[in-house]
């Protein structure tokens, strides 16, 4: 088994017709059903929805001091809106879940494998044998 990050991207200023209440209800129902399916099949590890990029703050080291800046690290039209972390046998299984997510929320999903998960100390030990 391997872990994958499924990132849901939204595009700023992407003017779509606003969802009707009915469509919204349907989308939510789909997502809830999908998350239950992930849970019961042992696929779901973690998931979350993020506030818009304007709520982000970046800290960085500069000349030995920590600088704090308002706004996201990358200014771009596309931004991470939310994500799932799932456990799957291989990329085919991960892509199948990603297809279900994109169908439910109508946003592109990036699938990326984890090189390691959990506390760093644990997999540094694993790698050292």
């Amino acid at each position: 088994m391997a872990k994958y990050l499924l990132s849901a991207y939204s595009v700023e200023g992407d003017v779509r017709d606003p969802m009707t209440d009915q469509e919204m209800q349907r989308s939510w129902k789909q997502v809830i059903a999908l998350e239950q399916e992930m849970q019961s099949s042992g696929t779901w590890v973690f998931s979350g929805r993020l506030h818009e990029p304007g709520t982000a703050t970046v800290v960085r080291m500069s000349d030995g001091k920590v600088l704090t800046a308002d706004g996201p690290f990358v200014e771009s039209k596309e931004h991470l809106g939310g994500f799932y972390i799932i456990e799957a046998t291989d990329i085919d299984a991960a892509l199948a879940w990603a297809s279900k997510v994109t169908a439910a929320i109508n946003a592109p999903i990036e699938v990326r494998p984890f090189a390691g998960t959990g506390e760093l100390a644990r997999y540094v030990e694993d790698a050292a044998g």
Binding site: A2, Y4, V111, P113
Partner: protein
Amino acid sequence: MNSGPDGARVNGTAPALNEAAVGRIFREESGRCVAALIHIFGDIDVAEDAVQEAFAVALLKWPGNGLPPNPGGWITTTARKRAIDRLRREARGRELLKQAASLSPHNDDPGLPEEEGPVRDDRLRLIFTCCHPALSVETQVALTLRLLCGLSTEEVARSFLAAEPTMAQRLVRAKRKIKAARIPYRVPEARELPDRLHAVLAVVYLLYNAGLTNSTEPDLCSEAIRLARIVGMLMPEEPEAAGLLALLLLTESRRASRTRADGSLVLLGEQDRTRWDLALVAEGQAIVQRCLRRNQPGPYQLQAAINAVHSDAATVEQTDWSQILTLYDHLLAVAPTPVVALNRAVAIGEVRGPEVALSLIDELALDNYYAFHATRADLLQRLGRAREARAAYDLAATMAPTQAERDFLRSGGRAAR
């Protein structure tokens, strides 16, 4: 035939083997061997390196000892031994061996996979790994050439007019992704198969067409036909796989008459039909007949059938255009693309005249496609609208992909002959 203790021929009839001959035989066999070793060790790099080492051994032994009776088996066995020896020397390798061996009952020797045969040929798994939709099409093509056709990285680079370091980097990145993202080594399940097979056939078709435009060594057209034969043999239940093979064979049958000595193109209607390769025509047509009997048409089978009708005509005047038009009607129904519509319009031009054809193609959104303008030019010329035809030929020439085609169109295309 008598065999020596290490399987070498000893009856003295073995042909002399020079380095080039060993290389050729090796390349023929290497795809199967790499695939078998990936199956054993679960690692593409280990498999590639081991097969490469076996090649070095073959270069030393074969010229003196003669060709072993089963070169593929010899390479697989030699490569497997080399890989195990090497892996035992490295910590990571010992781990890999343990994993590989956990699939088989013996110590740390993973053993050979069970008897090879068309039912269980690892090359099919490897083709589906190389042509996985999570990889870009360029990468799919490069991996297929490297791993299945046994081309060196330098040869793959040359085939696509790319710099060798760029190609090497692309291959390294692809192999890293296969490992990290776990792109599986298996034939897809029935419900995914149509889409996935389509990707495989598209890579083979693209390879063939690349071979037609770049005449590099090794010849990509032959490699594409070799791959199409493998896929066709390994998936006998898939009519589109057979259709693609037939399409390539029929196209290949006309290769000698397709270009002049100066490299310029000869259109189908103007080719010297006595130079067509009749063995390839017969093989392609026989496959088309079998496809017709099976009656599960798809885009490749229909294109093959259209080519088969052309091959039936001893002279261009004898071409059965109404049958070709019927086939294009079917093709447009299953593959409704503007390019198919354009080719169908050409057939309509032959059956119902240039005026009908021109009104049809003027509705197509193909302004950036050179063949669109070339076809329009031909039709305008036939209608006696010479000035418009000239302009269309010039426009087509600015967009044509090869110098030969640009020259041909600038000189007035079909009309100038």
